[in-house]
Amino acid sequence: MTEIDFRFKQVVDAIVSADHHSYCMQCAACVGDCPSSKYSDRFNPRQILLMVITGMTEDLLAEGSMIWECTNCYNCFERCPQDVRPVEVIIALKNLATQRKHNPDKVDQMVQAVQMTGRTTLSTSAVNRIRGELGLAEVEEPPVEELRKIF
């Protein structure tokens, strides 16, 4: 028997800007302009919202979940007549999946890069040489020690 868990909403409510999910009336305006919906054989923001509201999120928070196919284009945010902000709900699900360590490697790589160097892209001596050739000063070293304290 499929279990519905309406308490899951409270978990999502606690995440920044994801708290409008229950305004969703399943109109599917978000699906019409969603590029991921068009190019994927499974991604569907309306369905994702329905699963969030009913708490049937086991698959959404599992490894290989479709939530990672979202392009973050914000079309759904623009189209939604109810201010649900589907993309922000999806990002909240990504936060929860990451807590369970069910995120793609790319997310870990980016987070580690920022933690170790203050940037997502590694700066090398070649970078400063190229910058010099273009007439630019060397890149500044970000204050990584300070950054780590708010990590």
Binding site: Y39, T98, P142
Partner: protein, 328 residues
């Protein structure tokens, strides 16, 4: 170096004499120059400063002719990235963004961004932190590094600053070699325009800002069916982003254009380096040069292709330069 030439200033925000320096800058700048100079704090972000420094070079070199003076501030980190980093933890993303904004709050100058991702993060953070409860939570975290976010820092993308503060006329005035006859396919990308209630740049369904900027340098902006389609970079899937890029590139090539013009370094990654990967996958050469707007502006202002770093592109821009009669 540009800093040595006085094109931009290195200002240490922890320097107690900084306020004094700002006043001195004012009088030096307005000396015998009747043109108004607009001062901004540039935020170049990771991708541009490290991976595509040619975009930073183009921006810094085209700014003076627009009456823009950059006042550099030390201590910025990644904005942080609104896709992968935000996906891991929203509160952490918001806190680090607030930290970046807090660095400039007492300086009385606006931040100007040149990467759509940075613009999205900083503008959205500013918007979210208007909520007192959320701001209090973030400031609680910022206490650990002796900083507080007050919400006074204003952020805009350079394109909006040009349209609203500098004026398109000033762009036209700065053009020495109009890029006549150059057909530039427009690509807006997603994050400059959306969510529109936060970004407040242009109508996301019928934007015109890029078209006006391209016309201002004498080139011809070309619309195409997939002008507003996402580049797909954020989509973590093996095939989907490539299919989106393929459709955009093919849509553009069906319009007989000379190049693709854009304002986002992440999109650039998808269409320049990405075009090479696309060629391998579909066994087809698309040969569509991709240019960042400020590189076009640079060429129009009389800078050389090398000055704006066109030699660093994976898809060669030779045929554009040939058409414009620019010597490499």
């Amino acid at each position: 170096m540009l800093a040595d030439e006085g094109v931009c200033q290195r200002v240490d925000e922890t320097d107690p004499l900084m306020a004094n320096t700002m006043e001195n800058l004012d009088s030096r700048v307005h000396g015998n120059n009747t043109a108004v100079t607009h001062k901004y704090i540039p935020f170049f972000g990771c991708m541009i400063s490290v991976k595509y420094p040619q975009f930073e070079a183009a921006v810094r070199k085209t700014a003076p002719a627009l009456g823009i003076e950059f006042v550099d501030v030390k201590g910025f980190t990644c904005c942080p990235d609104p896709i992968f980093f935000k996906a891991s933890d929203k509160m952490r993303w918001l806190t680090i963004a607030a930290r970046n904004l807090s660095l400039v709050e007492d300086l009385g100058l606006d931040i100007v961004t040149v990467c759509s991702g940075c613009t999205a993060t900083l503008l959205e953070a500013h918007h979210l932190l208007e909520n007192e409860e959320l701001r209090a939570k973030v400031n609680e975290r910022l206490k650990a590094i002796d900083r507080q976010y007050q919400g006074t820092a204003k952020v805009r993308h350079l394109c909006t600053v040009i349209r609203d503060d500098i004026g398109m006329d000033k762009v036209k005035e700065s053009v020495k070699n109009p890029l006549e006859g150059l057909r530039v396919a427009i690509h807006y990308g997603c994050h400059l325009l959306k969510p529109s209630q936060v970004m407040k740049v242009d109508d996301p369904n019928h934007p015109t800002i890029l078209e006006h900027l391209i016309e201002a340098v004498g080139a011809e902006p070309i619309e195409h069916n997939e002008k507003l389609l996402c580049c797909g970079k954020a989509c973590m899937h093996d095939e989907m982003p490539k299919e989106m890029v393929r459709d955009i590139v093919q849509s553009i090539l069906s319009m007989d254009v000379d190049c693709m013009g854009l304002i986002c370094p992440t999109c650039f990654d998808e269409y320049d380096l990405g075009q090479m990967l696309l060629s391998r996958k579909y066994n087809k050469t698309f040969n569509l040069p991709v240019i960042y707007y400020f590189q076009l502006l640079g060429l129009a202002q009389g800078l050389s292709p090398h000055d704006v770093g066109l030699h660093r592109h994976k898809i060669k821009t030779d045929k554009i330069l040939e058409k414009l009669g620019v010597v490499v």
